[in-house]
């Protein structure tokens, strides 16, 4: 018979390190169903029948943040056999606050006081026996980093879980509060077991708006609430929170003695420099430069080029020995066995190219993930939010959104994946949706093409592309945070700045691998399927009434061309309603730089330069400058390439949000391109028509959406049943 142990604790208390130490490689990482919160489960080393569930790091069991709601729904709904509560010994007072709430759930708790090595070093003392006696649970001293005590903590947790017992909380609040709680407990229905009564009574008293979903019948307690609020002149939520801290202070006084000599810790010393008023921004810029330079410009891009151009391209050399690429090896193999042309095409240009598109991003991403894991684990990421918050919060983004956007200027895929470091759900979703507005390196050939063909290579075209991207992010942030989709999530910025510490290599590599693998697994499918789809529609079509496979130069007969023809009317208001532009935009979804190559083929050139210099003349003859700029804007802002869409799907972990993101991006691209073309045409030629009126109408609507009043929500809107019903991945 298997037992389940939940690992619960504050963020930054060493929970991940402990989880890794307890489970080793027996881990299963995913998401809680339908939400962006990560879910980790593992088997205890040496105990096949003991499952450890790593709950999200939380400070409280309030109904206001997604992580907390997910955690408490699991604890109430699934009822693990024991809770292993990990507590940061260097920050015991606030950590015990969560403990008092965990102990009310009726589930036996084992407390592991972590970072004991640091506590001892600083000369502070924690009286474990007394703590255990006061809290009414077993307490073990551990150091997750050094691995001391964790075996003992695990054994105790397993032992208590195997007993399948229940635990009653021992802590008591002030007499007035206790008597009210007693009255409420009497009103509770019989569906709530004895050991859970206190938890439900407290939640009812706190006017918790999520708790009724967990109860069969909800008693009316307004009278009790009114009585105690009048008596203690405060709202019940604050009364309970106060009582908890009063109780904790009383324990701390007896069990914890601080080293009298107050001296600066090394963390304080680092922080004095790193978040110094004058040095903070230069240091931040330097750190960001290193991250970008290594993961985008140098090592990351070498690795990606090696995979794309070497392993999946023209072959590469291994210490002088030339190694053929996978496609060329496969090709010779397929030719040798006499494989049919279409099958060869499917395997090479469809499947292998698709797999290559997925794997091509991985090396760069892994390099980036090492940096992110390091910045997060050492504590600098929290400082990034601290330093950049002022700028980003105005657009509904987090200070940490800076990193995804910076990386996004290299490649949107790792940029989107980097949004994982943002803990607030709303900020994270917003960042995922807006990161790809920044022109990534694959969009630069399009910029070069348009600038060269129609603007004589003017200097302002490229900067204007970045300007459009940044403006799109800022406006989207302001507009989206006022929409129904986002308004449902309150986002207080009250953030802990954890002490700096050196992370372990093992933890960093594990975090890197988990993120990389989840991209391959979750984003890979969508990328592969879409690549195959576009390959098929590109290379098949009707020639003289006969359906067959096409040559490279017969693209104008393809299914894709037919699709382009069918939808090209959509782009007439944007100024580029011919099917060639539509087809180019579609192939851009495979990879943005394909836009240039596709134009080349459609204009009759087999191979063109990266900036498409050969076709500048033809392109200039086929559209006006304003139309070309509209085409550029549309391709910069619209749905990103399939790889980035895969990353969006992975990170949103929710079909509705995925389509909302893609739909919003495309709609915004369409509207902006339309306004650019219509108003641009009005200015350059003076032509005024129905389209111009629509454009002005859209601009007015846009301004209204930007300026309309807005109020921060007070409740977390989330489909509880989905989360509560979450069993396994």
């Amino acid at each position: 018979m298997s037992v389940k142990i939940a690992l619960a604790g504050n963020p930054n208390c060493g929970k991940t390190t402990l989880f890794n130490a307890l489970t080793g490689s027996n881990q299963f990482v995913g998401n809680w169903p339908g939400v962006t919160v990560e879910k980790k489960e593992g088997k205890l080393k040496g105990h096949k029948d003991v499952i450890i569930m790593d709950l999200p790091g939380i400070y409280s069991l309030s109904p206001y943040t997604l992580e907390e709601v997910v955690a408490r729904n699991y604890l109430i709904g699934e009822r693990p056999d024991a809770i292993l509560n990990i507590v940061d010994g260097t920050n015991i007072e606030r950590n015990l606050y969560l403990s008092t709430q965990l102990m009310e759930l009726g589930i036996p708790v084992i407390m592991a006081v972590n970072m004991m090595d640091i506590v001892e070093k600083s000369g502070d003392k924690i009286n474990i026996q007394k703590l255990s006696q006061k809290l009414g649970c077993e307490v073990v001293e551990i150091s997750a980093l050094k691995g001391t005590g964790i075996q003992k903590a695990a054994e105790k947790a397993v032992a208590i879980a195997n007993k399948k017992s229940v635990a009653l909380p021992v802590h008591k609040f002030a007499t007035e509060v206790e008597s009210v709680l007693e009255q409420i407990e009497l009103k509770l229905g019989s569906d709530i077991s004895e050991e859970q009564k206190r938890f439900f009574a407290i939640k009812l008293l706190e006017k918790d708006d999520k708790i009724s979903a967990q109860m069969k019948s909800v008693p009316d307690v307004t009278e009790e609430i009114a009585q105690i609020e009048k008596e203690m002149d405060d709202d019940t939520e604050s009364i309970i929170t106060n009582e908890r801290y009063v109780y904790i202070s009383s324990i701390i006084n007896e069990c914890y003695s601080k080293n009298k000599k107050e001296k600066l810790t090394s963390s304080d010393k680092i922080d004095k420099i790193v978040t110094n008023r004058w040095l903070a921004l230069p240091i931040f810029a330097a750190v960001m430069f290193v991250v970008y330079y290594v993961s985008v410009t140098t090592i990351g891009s070498w690795a990606t080029d090696w995979v794309n151009d070497g392993v999946f391209g023209d072959g590469w050399s291994f210490f002088g020995i030339s190694v053929p690429s996978i496609p060329s090896m496969l090709e010779s193999g397929l030719i040798a066995v006499g494989c049919a042309d279409w099958l060869q095409g499917l395997i090479l240009d469809g499947i292998v190219a698709g797999v290559g598109a997925v794997l091509g991003f991985v090396p760069q991403m892994l390099v980036l993930f090492v940096f992110l894991a390091f910045l997060e684990a050492c504590g600098y990421m929290a400082r990034v939010a601290f330093i950049m918050d002022r700028i980003f919060r105005k657009f509904g983004l987090s200070g940490k959104s800076f990193i995804p956007m910076l990386i996004g200027s290299g490649c949107g895929v790792p940029g989107i994946m980097a949004s994982r470091t943002i803990e607030n759900d709303r900020d994270r979703k917003m960042t995922i949706m807006t990161t790809t507005f920044i022109p990534c390196s694959a969009k630069l050939p399009i910029v070069a093409l348009i600038a060269g063909a129609l603007f004589n290579g003017s200097w302002w075209v490229a900067p204007s592309a970045y300007f459009v991207g940044i403006a799109a992010i800022i406006c989207s942030g302001i507009i989206l945070k006022k929409t129904k989709m986002f308004a449902g999530e309150p986002a207080p910025f009250v953030m802990e700045l954890p002490a700096y510490h050196m992370p372990t290599v093992g933890n960093i590599l594990r975090s890197m691998w988990e993120r990389g693998w989840s991209f391959i697994k979750k984003a890979g499918t969508i990328i592969l399927l879409s690549t195959i789809f576009v390959w098929f529609t590109t290379y098949f079509g009707w020639v003289d009434g006969q359906f067959r496979m096409l040559d490279d130069m017969e693209l104008n007969h393809s299914i894709l061309a037919a699709i382009g023809n069918t939808i090209s009317w959509l782009f007439i208001p944007l100024g580029w309603g011919d099917w060639k532009s539509a087809v180019a935009a579609i192939t851009g979804l495979v990879a943005k730089e394909n836009v240039v190559g596709t134009f080349g083929i459609l204009f009759g050139f087999a191979e063109v330069e990266e900036n498409g210099a050969e076709i500048w003349g033809t392109l200039a003859g086929s559209m006006t400058a304003v139309a070309a700029y509209s085409f550029l804007v549309f391709n910069l802002l619209c749905a990103p390439c399939f790889a980035a869409m895969g990353a969006i799907k992975r990170e949103m972990n929710n079909a509705k949000w995925f389509w909302f993101a893609i739909g919003y991006q495309t709609l915004l691209a369409y509207v902006v391109a339309l306004c650019v073309y219509q108003i641009g045409t009005l200015i350059t030629t003076g032509a005024f028509g129905f389209g111009t009126v629509v454009a002005f109408g859209l601009v007015a609507l846009f301004i209204y959406l930007l300026a309309r009043p807005y109020k921060e929500s007070n409740t977390l809107k989330i489909n509880l049943n989905r989360v509560a019903g979450a069993k396994n991945m």
């Binding site: 400070y59 409280s60 309030s62 206001y64 260097t90 920050n91 007072e93 606030r94 606050y97 709202d235 939520e237 604050s238 929170t241 106060n242 801290y245 922080d271 978040t275 110094n276 008023r277 004058w278 903070a280 921004l281 929290a382 939010a385 601290f386 330093i387 918050d389 002022r390 700028i391 919060r393 309150p490 207080p492 910025f493 009250v494 953030m495 802990e496 700045l497 954890p498 002490a499 007070n714 409740t715 977390l716």
Partner: protein, 73 residues
């Protein structure tokens, strides 16, 4: 009565009351800022907001707009 927002860096103050309600107030209290607790204002971010404080032995950052909800003496 002063709010935490008006306290300059380097000062230690005592919380007397928390105004407002809802998620922000709850989060502030969850993080240990309750009646009677001592707060040391450590520093202000380079761009002037948020502020960093020491409370119950650890470092916490919060925006000035939220610090306004905390009455101190």
């Amino acid at each position: 009565m002063k709010t935490l927002k008006e306290i300059p860096c380097g000062k230690t103050v005592k919380v007397t009351k928390l105004t407002g309600e809802g998620p922000v107030k709850r989060r502030i209290m969850d993080m240990g800022i309750t009646k009677g607790v001592e707060i040391f204002v450590r520093k202000v971010a380079p761009l002037g907001d948020p502020v960093e404080i020491t409370v119950r032995g650890y470092e916490l950052s919060l925006r000035k707009a939220d610090a306004e909800m905390i009455l101190v003496e």
